[in-house]
């Protein structure tokens, strides 16, 4: 559904996106992760033909966005970080206005979408009277009007309260399951991405530093958490035996290459240590992300 090849965007002298390659397959919920200013919004701008790439090619729904923008965006919906509308007009009129930029939309379709997002009964009220949550629903409604195959969400939970965030998360899942939409979700909220996405790309200073499945980000590290009596003695023994290379915090051990949890457990039991618990340390998306950013910063400093 989305394919970016070696896309670079330079604003003045600043490179906002650098040689970015990205591919999102049909049916995926893909997370674009990065800190504020990492280049996520610029990337989304290029996907929607709002920002022109300096070099590289951007394909959306099989069409080059620079050459066939209308075809590329015909079945695309988008939501931006702050839901902005014509406040002085009612919700329904906003939808009528925005829908005609795609094509003729029957009134019945607008009713359906209003019903789907839960705005029925308030669609005739001026948008200026809407709460932030209602605006977010209206934003979703306008994105759904063209019957999209691809939904691009740029920080969709920005400014929402916890209840609103929970609701939006549920809605995104529904969109994926009930309507089978491909979703590109840009966010700096790790928990949001972790709960929704099957694959992610992490961008840092305009460069992609990771692209893979969420499972890959949770790969086990070489550290194990150990609960046992006489930790220091055990650590010395394991070190001497060559099964671990380091200890940390009185409960963590770094496995040596070739060492496994069963091997370490057997050694501890055979040497009469009382083992209450032993487990590989599970890496969270947060620790993974932070390690990526740390490594990227170190790279930047070296260069």
């Amino acid at each position: 559904m989305i394919e970016l090849r070696q896309v670079t965007k330079v604003f003045g002298g600043r490179t906002a996106v650098h040689a970015l390659d990205l591919a999102v397959a049909r049916g995926e919920i893909f997370g674009l992760l990065g800190h504020n200013g990492a280049g996520k919004s610029t990337t989304i701008g290029m996907l929607l033909g709002q920002v022109w790439p300096t070099s590289g090619s951007v394909q959306v729904c099989g069409h080059d966005i620079s050459l066939q923008r209308a075809k590329a965006l015909h079945r695309v919906g988008a939501i931006f970080e702050t839901p902005i509308f014509y406040d002085y007009l009612c919700g329904r009129r906003n939808l009528e206005i925005l829908s005609t930029y795609t094509g003729i939309t029957p009134a019945r379709r607008i009713d359906e979408v209003i019903e789907w997002v839960g705005l029925a009964g308030r669609e005739r009220a001026a948008v200026r009277t809407y709460s932030h949550g209602m605006r977010a629903r209206l934003a979703l409604a306008q994105a759904l009007l063209p019957g999209p195959e691809l939904l691009i969400l740029d920080e969709p939970t920005n400014g929402l309260d916890p209840e609103g965030i929970h609701e939006m998360r549920g809605t995104i899942r529904r969109l994926h399951v009930e309507l089978g939409l491909t979703i590109l979700l840009s966010s700096h909220l790790l928990s949001e991405v972790e709960q929704l996405c099957s694959r992610i790309a992490v961008v840092h200073q305009g460069r992609k530093v990771f692209d893979g499945t969420l499972a890959e980000t949770r790969r086990t590290e070489s550290w194990i958490d150990v609960e046992l009596d006489r930790f220091d003695d055990a650590a010395k023994g394991l070190m001497a035996a060559g099964w671990i290379t380091a200890v940390e915090g009185g409960c963590r051990m770094a496995l040596a290459p070739g060492a496994t949890v069963p091997v370490v457990t057997r050694w501890l039991v055979e040497n009469r240590f009382e083992v209450s618990g032993i487990a590989r340390e599970q890496q969270t998306l947060e620790t993974f992300y932070l390690s990526l950013v740390k490594a990227a910063r170190a790279d930047d400093a070296r260069n």
């Binding site: 701008g45 033909g49 009528e96």
Partner: protein
């Protein structure tokens, strides 16, 4: 589809309260000028001028004369102000508010969007000018009895018309005045296509119009008048000429159409390569 999209632009334009500032201020200004004209020595001075030139004052101190007198000043000062205000808003305000990003997430081309906005702005300008003409006449009817039209610009023009001819000239003048309103709107629209605030687009357009007006009125530059935009913007005054200089009207019409096409093409060129960001 085109008519639906144009209807949307009009909904957006006429849904805003600030759009009506021009209409409200025009009526207020007309009322004030008319009352001062009616109840000061201005009308008797004009009557004396008519009498001294052999015309019956009572036949020409009429709604047509009063409305022409009133609208002459409004067309010089307030019409460019409200035209540029709306022209500057059409693109720049949507960019500033963020709604432009919402529109451009859809498959409409930038050229089509600008064309729709320009047409909506032109319709607003036409409506504003026609309203100016109509309310001027209606307010004039409350102060003076129906009669002929007297048009006087010191040192430039002195003309009297029978009521029927006067009404035709008055209507034609307002149609051409609409072209002035459209042109100033178009100039401001052009500036609004750059990455600027709406107020900046309005101020830039007004500054150019004022500069042109100043240059045109410096006596030493009298020979250069036809080179200035305001010279052609004031084309509407030509229909009060006796006889009408059709050549001058044709030349100005042609140039104003050219100016408008240039402003629009320039706006499209700038807007098409612009990056639209939040």
């Amino acid at each position: 589809m085109l008519h639906l999209q144009l209807r949307n632009e009009l909904w957006k334009l006429f849904g805003k309260k600030r759009t009506y500032i021009g209409f409200a201020m025009f009526v207020l200004a007309q009322l004030v000028i008319l009352l001062v004209f009616r109840f000061s020595r201005a009308s008797s001075g004009m009557g004396a001028l008519l009498e001294n030139n052999g015309y019956d004052m009572t036949s020409f101190l009429s709604p047509l004369t009063a409305a022409t007198f009133t609208n002459f000043w409004l067309a010089y000062l307030l019409l460019p102000l409200f035209g540029t205000l709306v022209g500057g808003d059409l693109v720049a305000k949507e960019a500033e508010d963020g709604t432009l990003r919402l529109i451009l997430a859809r498959p409409i081309s930038r050229l089509r969007l600008l064309a729709l906005k320009w047409v909506a702005g032109a319709l607003f300008s036409l409506l504003l000018t026609l309203m100016l003409g109509l309310t001027g006449l209606l307010l004039g009817l409350t102060c003076f009895p129906w009669g002929g039209l007297f048009y006087f610009v010191p040192g430039e023009s002195f003309a009297v018309f029978e009521p029927g001819t006067g009404l035709i000239r008055y209507s034609a003048a307002h149609l051409l005045m609409a072209l002035k309103a459209i042109s100033v709107m178009g100039l401001s629209f052009f500036f609004g296509c750059f990455n600027v605030k709406p107020a900046a687009a309005t101020i830039l357009a007004l500054s150019l119009i004022f500069l042109s007006f100043i240059l045109m009125n410096i006596p030493w530059f009298a020979d250069l008048k036809p080179w200035f935009l305001t010279y052609h913007l004031n084309l509407w005054q030509q229909v009060y000429g006796d006889p009408i200089q059709w050549g001058r009207i044709g030349e100005s019409l042609f140039l104003l159409v050219g100016f408008n096409a240039t402003f629009f093409a320039g706006g499209v060129a700038v807007f098409s390569v612009r990056d639209i960001k939040s």
